[in-house]
């Protein structure tokens, strides 16, 4: 298992959201840089991407859940040990946004249902996808931002088709690393991260 040493830390990220909002499209755009119409996702599809953020090698395990309610029932496996959650909605579909709201409320409320899925350990992002179809927009940026602010989570907009807004992966990785240093300040990764972070901030203030 020499491969297991090729990264410093491993994070699990899960995607939730109604079907056809573009969860798999965002993932395949990020992992393979491809955009295509494809079969619907049935069970958690699984992708791995290794990235380097602030000199720390991070392996991202990206779990892409099928949008069908019945697959949500198999959730405990899916959410176990997740460190990052992307709630994706389609900006042209009102109900997909409402679904994200209700999902966030119910899931964070019944956190203990899922093993090890603790909200304070998790980083949540709200993602509005399909900005390429902004003409048909049904969810305004303001209301999405309002929801995310009131729940203290970040909101980003993307277009998997036009490959915009994919900064979200890097952004969530940084946030997860920060959370990690908060939760376990003594671990070697945390030390590395706080060190690199301080030098970065030092440099930025310098220049």
């Amino acid at each position: 298992m020499s491969d297991s040493k090729s990264y410093d830390i491993l994070f699990k990220i899960v995607f939730v959201g109604l079907s056809k909002v573009g969860k798999s499209a965002i993932v395949s755009r990020y992992v393979d840089n491809m955009f295509s119409m494809r079969n619907q996702t049935i069970h958690p599809e699984f992708h791995v991407r290794n990235v380097v953020v602030d000199n720390i090698k991070v392996s991202l395990q990206i779990w892409d859940q099928g949008g069908c309610d019945r697959y949500m029932n198999l959730g405990n496996l899916f959410y176990r040990n997740a460190k990052g959650v992307f709630m994706v909605f389609d900006i042209c579909k009102r109900d997909s946004f409402e679904y994200c709201q209700s999902w966030f409320d119910t899931t964070t409320r019944s956190v203990n249902k899922y093993n090890g899925f603790k909200p304070e350990k998790c980083v949540y992002y709200l993602i509005g996808n399909k900005t390429d179809l902004a003409l048909d927009r049904q969810v305004t940026i303001e209301e999405a931002e309002q929801f995310s602010k009131s729940n203290n989570i970040k909101y980003l907009e993307t277009s998997a088709k036009e490959a915009t807004g994919l900064i979200l992966f890097e952004s969530i990785t940084r946030d997860m690393l920060l959370k990690h240093t908060e939760m376990e300040p003594t671990s070697s990764i945390s030390l590395m991260y706080s060190k690199s972070n301080s030098t970065a901030s030092y440099l930025s203030t310098c220049c």
Partner: protein, 586 residues
Amino acid sequence: MALAFPPHAIQAILEIESNLYNYRGSFIPGFSKEELTTGGTSSFVIKEQKLESKSKSRYGQFKFLLSQDVINIDSLRYLSWGGIPVEQRPLVWKLLLNYLPKEKNLHNKILFEKKNQYKQLVTQFYRNGDLQNVDKTLLNQIRLDVPRTVPKGFSSTKLIQSTILHKILERILYVWSITNPKISYFQGLNDIPAQFLLVFLSQYINLYGDLNDLNNDILEKVEADTFWCFSLLMNNLKNRFIDFHDGIQKMSIKLERLVKLKDLHLSDHLTNEGCDFILFSIRWMICLLAREFDYALSTRLWDSYIAHGPNFGYFHIYVCAALLTTKEWATYIKEKEFSDIIVFLQHLPTDNWNIYHIDYLLVRAHKIFLLEMKSMVQESFQNITDQFKLKSLKEQQEQKELEEFVNNINNSNNNNNNNSNSNNNNNNNNNNSESLDDKIKDIQSQMKIKNNQLSVNTNDDKKQKTTTTTTPQPIQLEQLKEIHQELLVSTLSNKEIISPVVMEKIIELVTFNNEINLLNIQPDDADKELVKQVTTHLIIVMGTLLLVSVVLIIVIISTSLTILALQDKLTLPKEDDNQSDDDELD
């Protein structure tokens, strides 16, 4: 048996297996490649020719069967299990799913009726897909998924992108979901009617070409056929999808158990890496492997499923287990860690697979079934023999204690002088009983059939009477004897599998036994029930055999005794004679 493998399936598998061995090396990567390298090209060509003639004769067989006025469904079922020629597939599937009756002259009438019935259902429920009058969320979900239904190998064909086809699928799925509200629609279900649609369309058009040949009449026919065949197929799978979560869970547990039997190392590795079977097997279970193989291969696999009969869903799990334990893949998986394993299992490299890989897959599924049978037989045997052994040992111990007691009394009465001796005796007796306890434990842990014979011997009289009275069905003693012997041989010599001959005999036997109605029980329980029955029968037979041998021994002893007595009688007069001679001499 209404189990995972009905007799016709086993028969077909044995034939496939023998065919595969005849052509080994050229197609199957798991086989030795010696033949290929030493045989050179000439033998390869001959083999291909042989194969062609083989498939031609199969084609002829199908043609003959289907040309009959009343089609023999049983032979068709057996023949179809090994694969159906492309041209005959649409008709054969309809026949095997009981959509069409075996009387050929009724076919047109029924097709017409069914078409009209379906039309009625569509007007009743679908109502032109007007969102005002229908279940909105259901139809919307189906509308999202239908354009995303892309059977493997059809990603850029005109057919799959055509809106006509999408509308057809939408109607079929919607009407079915409304008429089966307990299951209703779920993602992945769309792949199943899509497969039927392609097969039935292939009767009229080239699936990869343009769609000029399509006209309304064909489309209407195909749509109705697809709907009914899809419903009939789903009827067999209903149980496992009504409680979705539970059904999937059960299937993946069963899969895990089978993989464990076949490749313990693999299943251990998967568990250690945290790869829950459900993570990769859901898609296999829901789409019946249609997403894992090319259209040509998945339809071939479905030939076997449809020919298999109503329990094919159960058989499907064995196929999944065989798929997972594919040799090269298993060795790859064993070296990898979680992420790599899951990514691999979600994109199985089946692109270079051909029909023979599917044949081999089916053969391996059967092998796993045999492994399971063997382990179940052994388990059940052990359970029953353990009970026998324990009982007999207890009786022995009781007897020993009684003897001890009697001895002690005798000792104390008679041997007042030798107190020390009697103490020793007591100690010895205690030791004996302790060692008996140990023995019981030993036997519980390691049970051998030879011991079992002894135990049955000790209390055969009672047991035999009670067991025979509880089984009213006539048992074919001769057959049972044979099976019993072969089973003994196979368990003792630790063979990999029970020989197919034995299996067949067990199957034959089961048909005699009308007491258990196998159709009424769950296949899983049916297996256990069958094994239990067979093993109890075996034990009865063993008991009778031993009884006979005991009787024989008694007869021998008594005859020898009488002979001895006679000899004595004969010799005595001789002495008298001698004496009398002596007397005379005197």
